[in-house]
């Protein structure tokens, strides 16, 4: 399993696991979209604590989810970012689309 979903009220948290690249992005994307469609959250939290690697495929994934959420005015929060993943998120300007939080 590359993802695990938790629903608390209007908040959907999806825990991603493994390496996020062009090969794995599709399955992660489908799981997130299914959870969003089913629960229609006002806040989607993507947890990267167990993502060991991410390239720009992860940026495409975040941008795509932001587009979907913005149709209903829902917010996006990204947490558990390792220094390497945080670096790519910042390079791509993702802090303009979502709140970013590093790994504790």
């Amino acid at each position: 399993m590359l993802t695990k979903t938790q629903v608390t009220g209007e908040v959907v948290t999806v825990y991603l696991k493994g390496e996020l690249d062009h090969h794995t992005a599709r399955r992660m994307r489908e799981a997130i979209d299914a959870a969003v469609e089913l629960n229609m959250p006002s806040l989607l939290v993507l947890d990267f604590s167990e993502v060991g690697f991410m390239d720009s495929s992860g940026i495409g994934l975040v941008m795509g989810r932001y587009r979907i959420l913005s149709k209903t005015g829902a917010q996006l929060h990204i947490q558990g970012l390792s220094p390497a993943i945080y670096k790519i998120m910042r390079l791509a300007g993702m802090e303009r689309l979502a709140t970013l939080q590093s790994k504790a």
């Binding site: 390496e19 690249d21 062009h22 090969h23 992005a25 994307r29 690697f53 991410m54 390239d55 720009s56 495929s57 940026i59 495409g60 994934l61 941008m63 795509g64 220094p83 390497a84 790519i88 390079l91 791509a92």
Partner: protein, 148 residues
């Protein structure tokens, strides 16, 4: 500048090989005693270049991706990633951040990430013949490191 070690690797342009390619290059680079950050930078840049071969170079076909690496006596890692795919018509345009020809959920940041995570990148391409990307990363010598 002397080349002290090199490798060659040929893989099929299947997305399942993206992880294999970046991990192999990272393992080769580990001889230079890089920091975790430097290893992560190398893996990310290689992943972008290999994904470009798969997504853009060969598109819906399978072809071979040729990866070669060299370590120099000055502590430089040079990785060449080549495909024999469709080639790039306008390299300057292709290297612009957010530019992408495939749509979907590609962010168009591949070259921007490669540039940002290495010290130098060079792209050579001929339409209909393929593309070669050279990634150069200098690994800073650390106290007690053995680059030999």
């Amino acid at each position: 500048m002397e080349i002290i070690n090199k490798f060659q690797l040929t893989i099929l342009s299947r997305s399942a090989n993206e992880g294999f390619a970046r991990s192999t290059v990272a393992a080769f680079a580990s001889q230079l005693d890089p920091t975790l950050e430097e290893i992560s930078d190398i893996k990310t840049a290689v992943s972008e270049a290999v994904t470009n071969c798969i997504v853009h170079g060969y598109q819906n076909e399978f072809g071979k991706i040729y990866i070669s690496g060299e370590i120099t006596s000055s502590g430089e890692l040079r990785v060449k990633i080549r495909d024999k795919g469709c080639g790039i018509e306008n390299i300057e345009k292709a290297m612009e951040p957010l530019f992408t020809t495939v749509g979907g959920e590609r962010a168009g940041l591949g070259f921007a990430v490669m540039e940002s995570f290495t010290d130098r990148i060079k792209v050579r391409s001929t339409v209909g013949k393929g593309t070669t990307v050279l990634l150069v990363k200098r690994i800073k010598p650390r106290f007690g490191s053995k680059n030999g």
